[in-house]
């Protein structure tokens, strides 16, 4: 999988010079960029207003006027899909932002300091692993009430553990390395060792995982949207749109099918970028 030419030439600058991303990474990056463009400038891309009802154009099949057809309120499905990107990219970011920040920090702290903090963390990990992610998130959302904000809260409460676990493991490895021992011998303070020395080296796997996790976040957010626990109608969110069209699956399948396809495509894009980055950053043997 790894380019054999890179293995013989160590050194960061050389590695960057021979930087040849795999085509799958480029495809993934292209997909992600399109999604982000749709999220940032939907008004430039969408041909219609996503929320305007048009009772003269109800349940129309895909045509030159409406590429993805129209729904039961005459809303243009393509425009709703484009505007939906806004919500789903927001979901990708907000389901992962707190976890990546707090989780990596906790991972470095527990891994370096050990002691009671680490023991407590061990129990938390056990418990989070025993629950199906979806069940735990749904249970918390059930208590807080449906909606995007509560969904972000629920996911954040659980998701940081995965990042912390990654960084903790990496910190334990780095802790044994010579440069950390040297820093200790130099008499540097723990905080300096953690943040200046260990953290930059231990954080890479978490950053790589972040990309893959955004794809998981989108899928989770859309699933909750479909169940009615995430974004609420009439918000144009892809999972909600699939749910909106589910009663028309036989007569007007385009209402659900296109949002679902774009949702899948977004998932593929982010996970290809995640895999590609993991390949690039993996230490070459």
């Amino acid at each position: 999988m790894a380019a054999p030419s890179a293995a013989a030439r160590p050194g960061r600058s050389r590695r960057l010079a021979s930087f040849r991303p795999k085509p799958t990474l480029l495809i993934g990056a292209a997909i992600v960029l399109v999604m982000i463009a749709m999220a940032l400038f939907p008004q430039l891309i969408a041909p219609y207003n996503p929320t305007t009802f048009d009772y003269n154009a109800i349940l129309q099949a895909p045509s030159a006027q409406h590429w993805f057809g129209t729904d039961n309120f005459g809303r243009d499905v393509l425009s709703r899909v484009v505007y939906g990107s806004r919500i789903d990219m927001q979901i990708a970011l907000f389901t992962t932002l707190f976890p990546v920040l707090f989780g990596t920090l906790m991972g470095a702290l527990t891994g370096y300091l050990r002691g009671w903090l680490d023991a407590l963390f061990g129990r938390i990990v056990d418990v989070v692993m025993v629950f199906p992610f979806l069940i735990l998130v749904i249970a918390i959302v059930a208590m807080l009430g449906p909606g995007l904000t509560n969904m972000y809260l629920a996911v954040s409460v659980v998701n940081w553990v995965y990042y912390a676990r990654l960084v903790r493991g990496e910190t334990l490895v780095q802790n044994q390395s010579e440069y950390v021992q040297a820093a200790r011998v130099m008499g540097y303070s723990p905080s300096r060792i953690i943040f200046r020395h260990i953290f930059p080296n231990a954080v890479t796997p978490a950053i790589v995982y972040w990309m893959t996790d955004m794809s998981l976040g989108i899928l989770l957010g859309a699933s909750l949207g479909y169940l009615g626990l995430g974004a609420q109608p009439p918000t144009a969110e892809w999972g909600v749109m699939v749910a909106d069209g589910k009663n028309f699956m036989v007569t007007a399948p385009w209402i659900s099918t296109y949002p679902g396809l774009v949702l899948t495509l977004a998932g593929v894009g982010f996970s290809l970028v995640g895999d590609g980055l993991a390949d690039l950053l993996r230490p070459k043997r």
Partner: protein, 324 residues
């Protein structure tokens, strides 16, 4: 406790291992209890009001307060909660007027069956695909298989369920559009589409993992050795390559059962299957909090048992495992 004298060392070891693992579960169980206990306290306002739903009267509130010990300090409340759970009392469903434990007992088998079925289908899809993909590495067939399973990783369960239901259920009428069958064997037919859509994601994860472990094992010296001994290629594949490559996949399979059960919430909702997953969703919208709380606990307990079984299977598959 006196150690039972067994004829074989290995079985004593295994027993010891099981006991150790069971003991390790106790602190985890305690934290789970705290979490599930705390869950209802996330509700805004008086939990008694939330639990009672529409039937709020001052008398009823007073009764629930007494029942749950809500007038006592929190640690004592937690103790009462533990006592009730140990006695199998998880409260009563507001909407269905049935003890929660009864609801779980009735519906859990369906969800477990669906999850197991999905897991089997995932193995049936992923193992042949991974073997083919790894042995034909770099060819078009490898690329095709990997592309299909890459999409599987990103295909949301609710979307795949809905599409399969529409195409094979509603349009072609090859399969029923929901529910469960009258008998166990008919369930294999009724639950095929739900299990397929639920299992495809796991199949994608397993295929990836197994493919890369096969590629790793292919380079191992013992495989070269087996080949140079003149063992037939098919036997080398089965006994030497697959047996070793499957070890990590079995572990991954066990660890993924939990996520698979979580996915059952969605599949059961789309296909109208009367399992605990659908019950969870209907209870949320029915504000039936005792049920949500009880189900959360039930999911955790089932998965702890699955993890235990996974560890045991692992120790059988890989004789190198020693008691930690």
């Amino acid at each position: 406790m006196p150690t039972p004298r067994a004829p074989e060392d290995a079985s004593v070891n295994r027993l010891q291992y099981i006991v150790t693992r069971l003991l390790q579960m106790i602190p985890t169980m305690l934290v789970i209890m705290i979490l599930v206990f705390a869950l209802v306290r996330l509700l805004p306002g008086d939990p008694a009001v939330a639990i009672l739903g529409d039937r709020v009267t001052p008398q009823a509130i007073a009764r629930v307060h007494k029942e749950l010990g809500l007038d006592k300090p929190i640690p004592l409340q937690f103790w009462y909660f533990l006592e009730r759970v140990v006695q199998g009392n998880l409260g009563t469903s507001v909407n269905l007027k049935v003890p929660v434990i009864q609801l779980i007992a009735d519906r859990m088998p369906i969800t477990l069956g669906l999850t197991l079925y999905a897991g089997m289908l995932a193995l049936l899809m992923s193992v042949p695909a991974a073997v083919l993909s790894a042995l034909r590495r770099g060819t078009w067939i490898d690329n095709l298989i990997r592309a299909i399973f890459q999409v599987g990783l990103s295909l949301p369960v609710f979307y795949l369920s809905l599409q399969l239901l529409t195409v094979f259920g509603a349009r072609l009428r090859w399969f029923p559009v929901g529910g469960v069958g009258p008998t166990l064997t008919s369930d294999l037919y009724y639950l095929f589409l739900p299990a397929l859509s639920l299992g495809f994601y796991l199949a994608a994860i397993l295929m990836r993992n197994l493919r890369s472990s096969i590629l790793e094992v292919l380079d191992a010296e013992y495989v070269d050795f087996a080949r140079s001994k003149g063992i037939r290629p098919r036997l080398v594949l089965l006994r030497h390559i697959l047996r070793n490559a499957l070890i990590s996949t079995v572990t991954l399979f066990g660890l993924s059962i939990g996520q698979l059960m979580g996915g059952a919430v969605i599949t059961e909702t789309v296909f109208a299957i009367p399992g605990v997953g659908r019950l969870m969703v209907t209870s949320i919208f029915g504000r039936d909090y005792a049920v949500v709380q009880g189900l959360t606990l039930a999911f955790a307990i089932v998965i702890m048992v699955v993890f235990l079984l996974t560890d045991l299977v692992y120790s059988v598959l890989d004789p190198r495992t020693k008691v930690a």
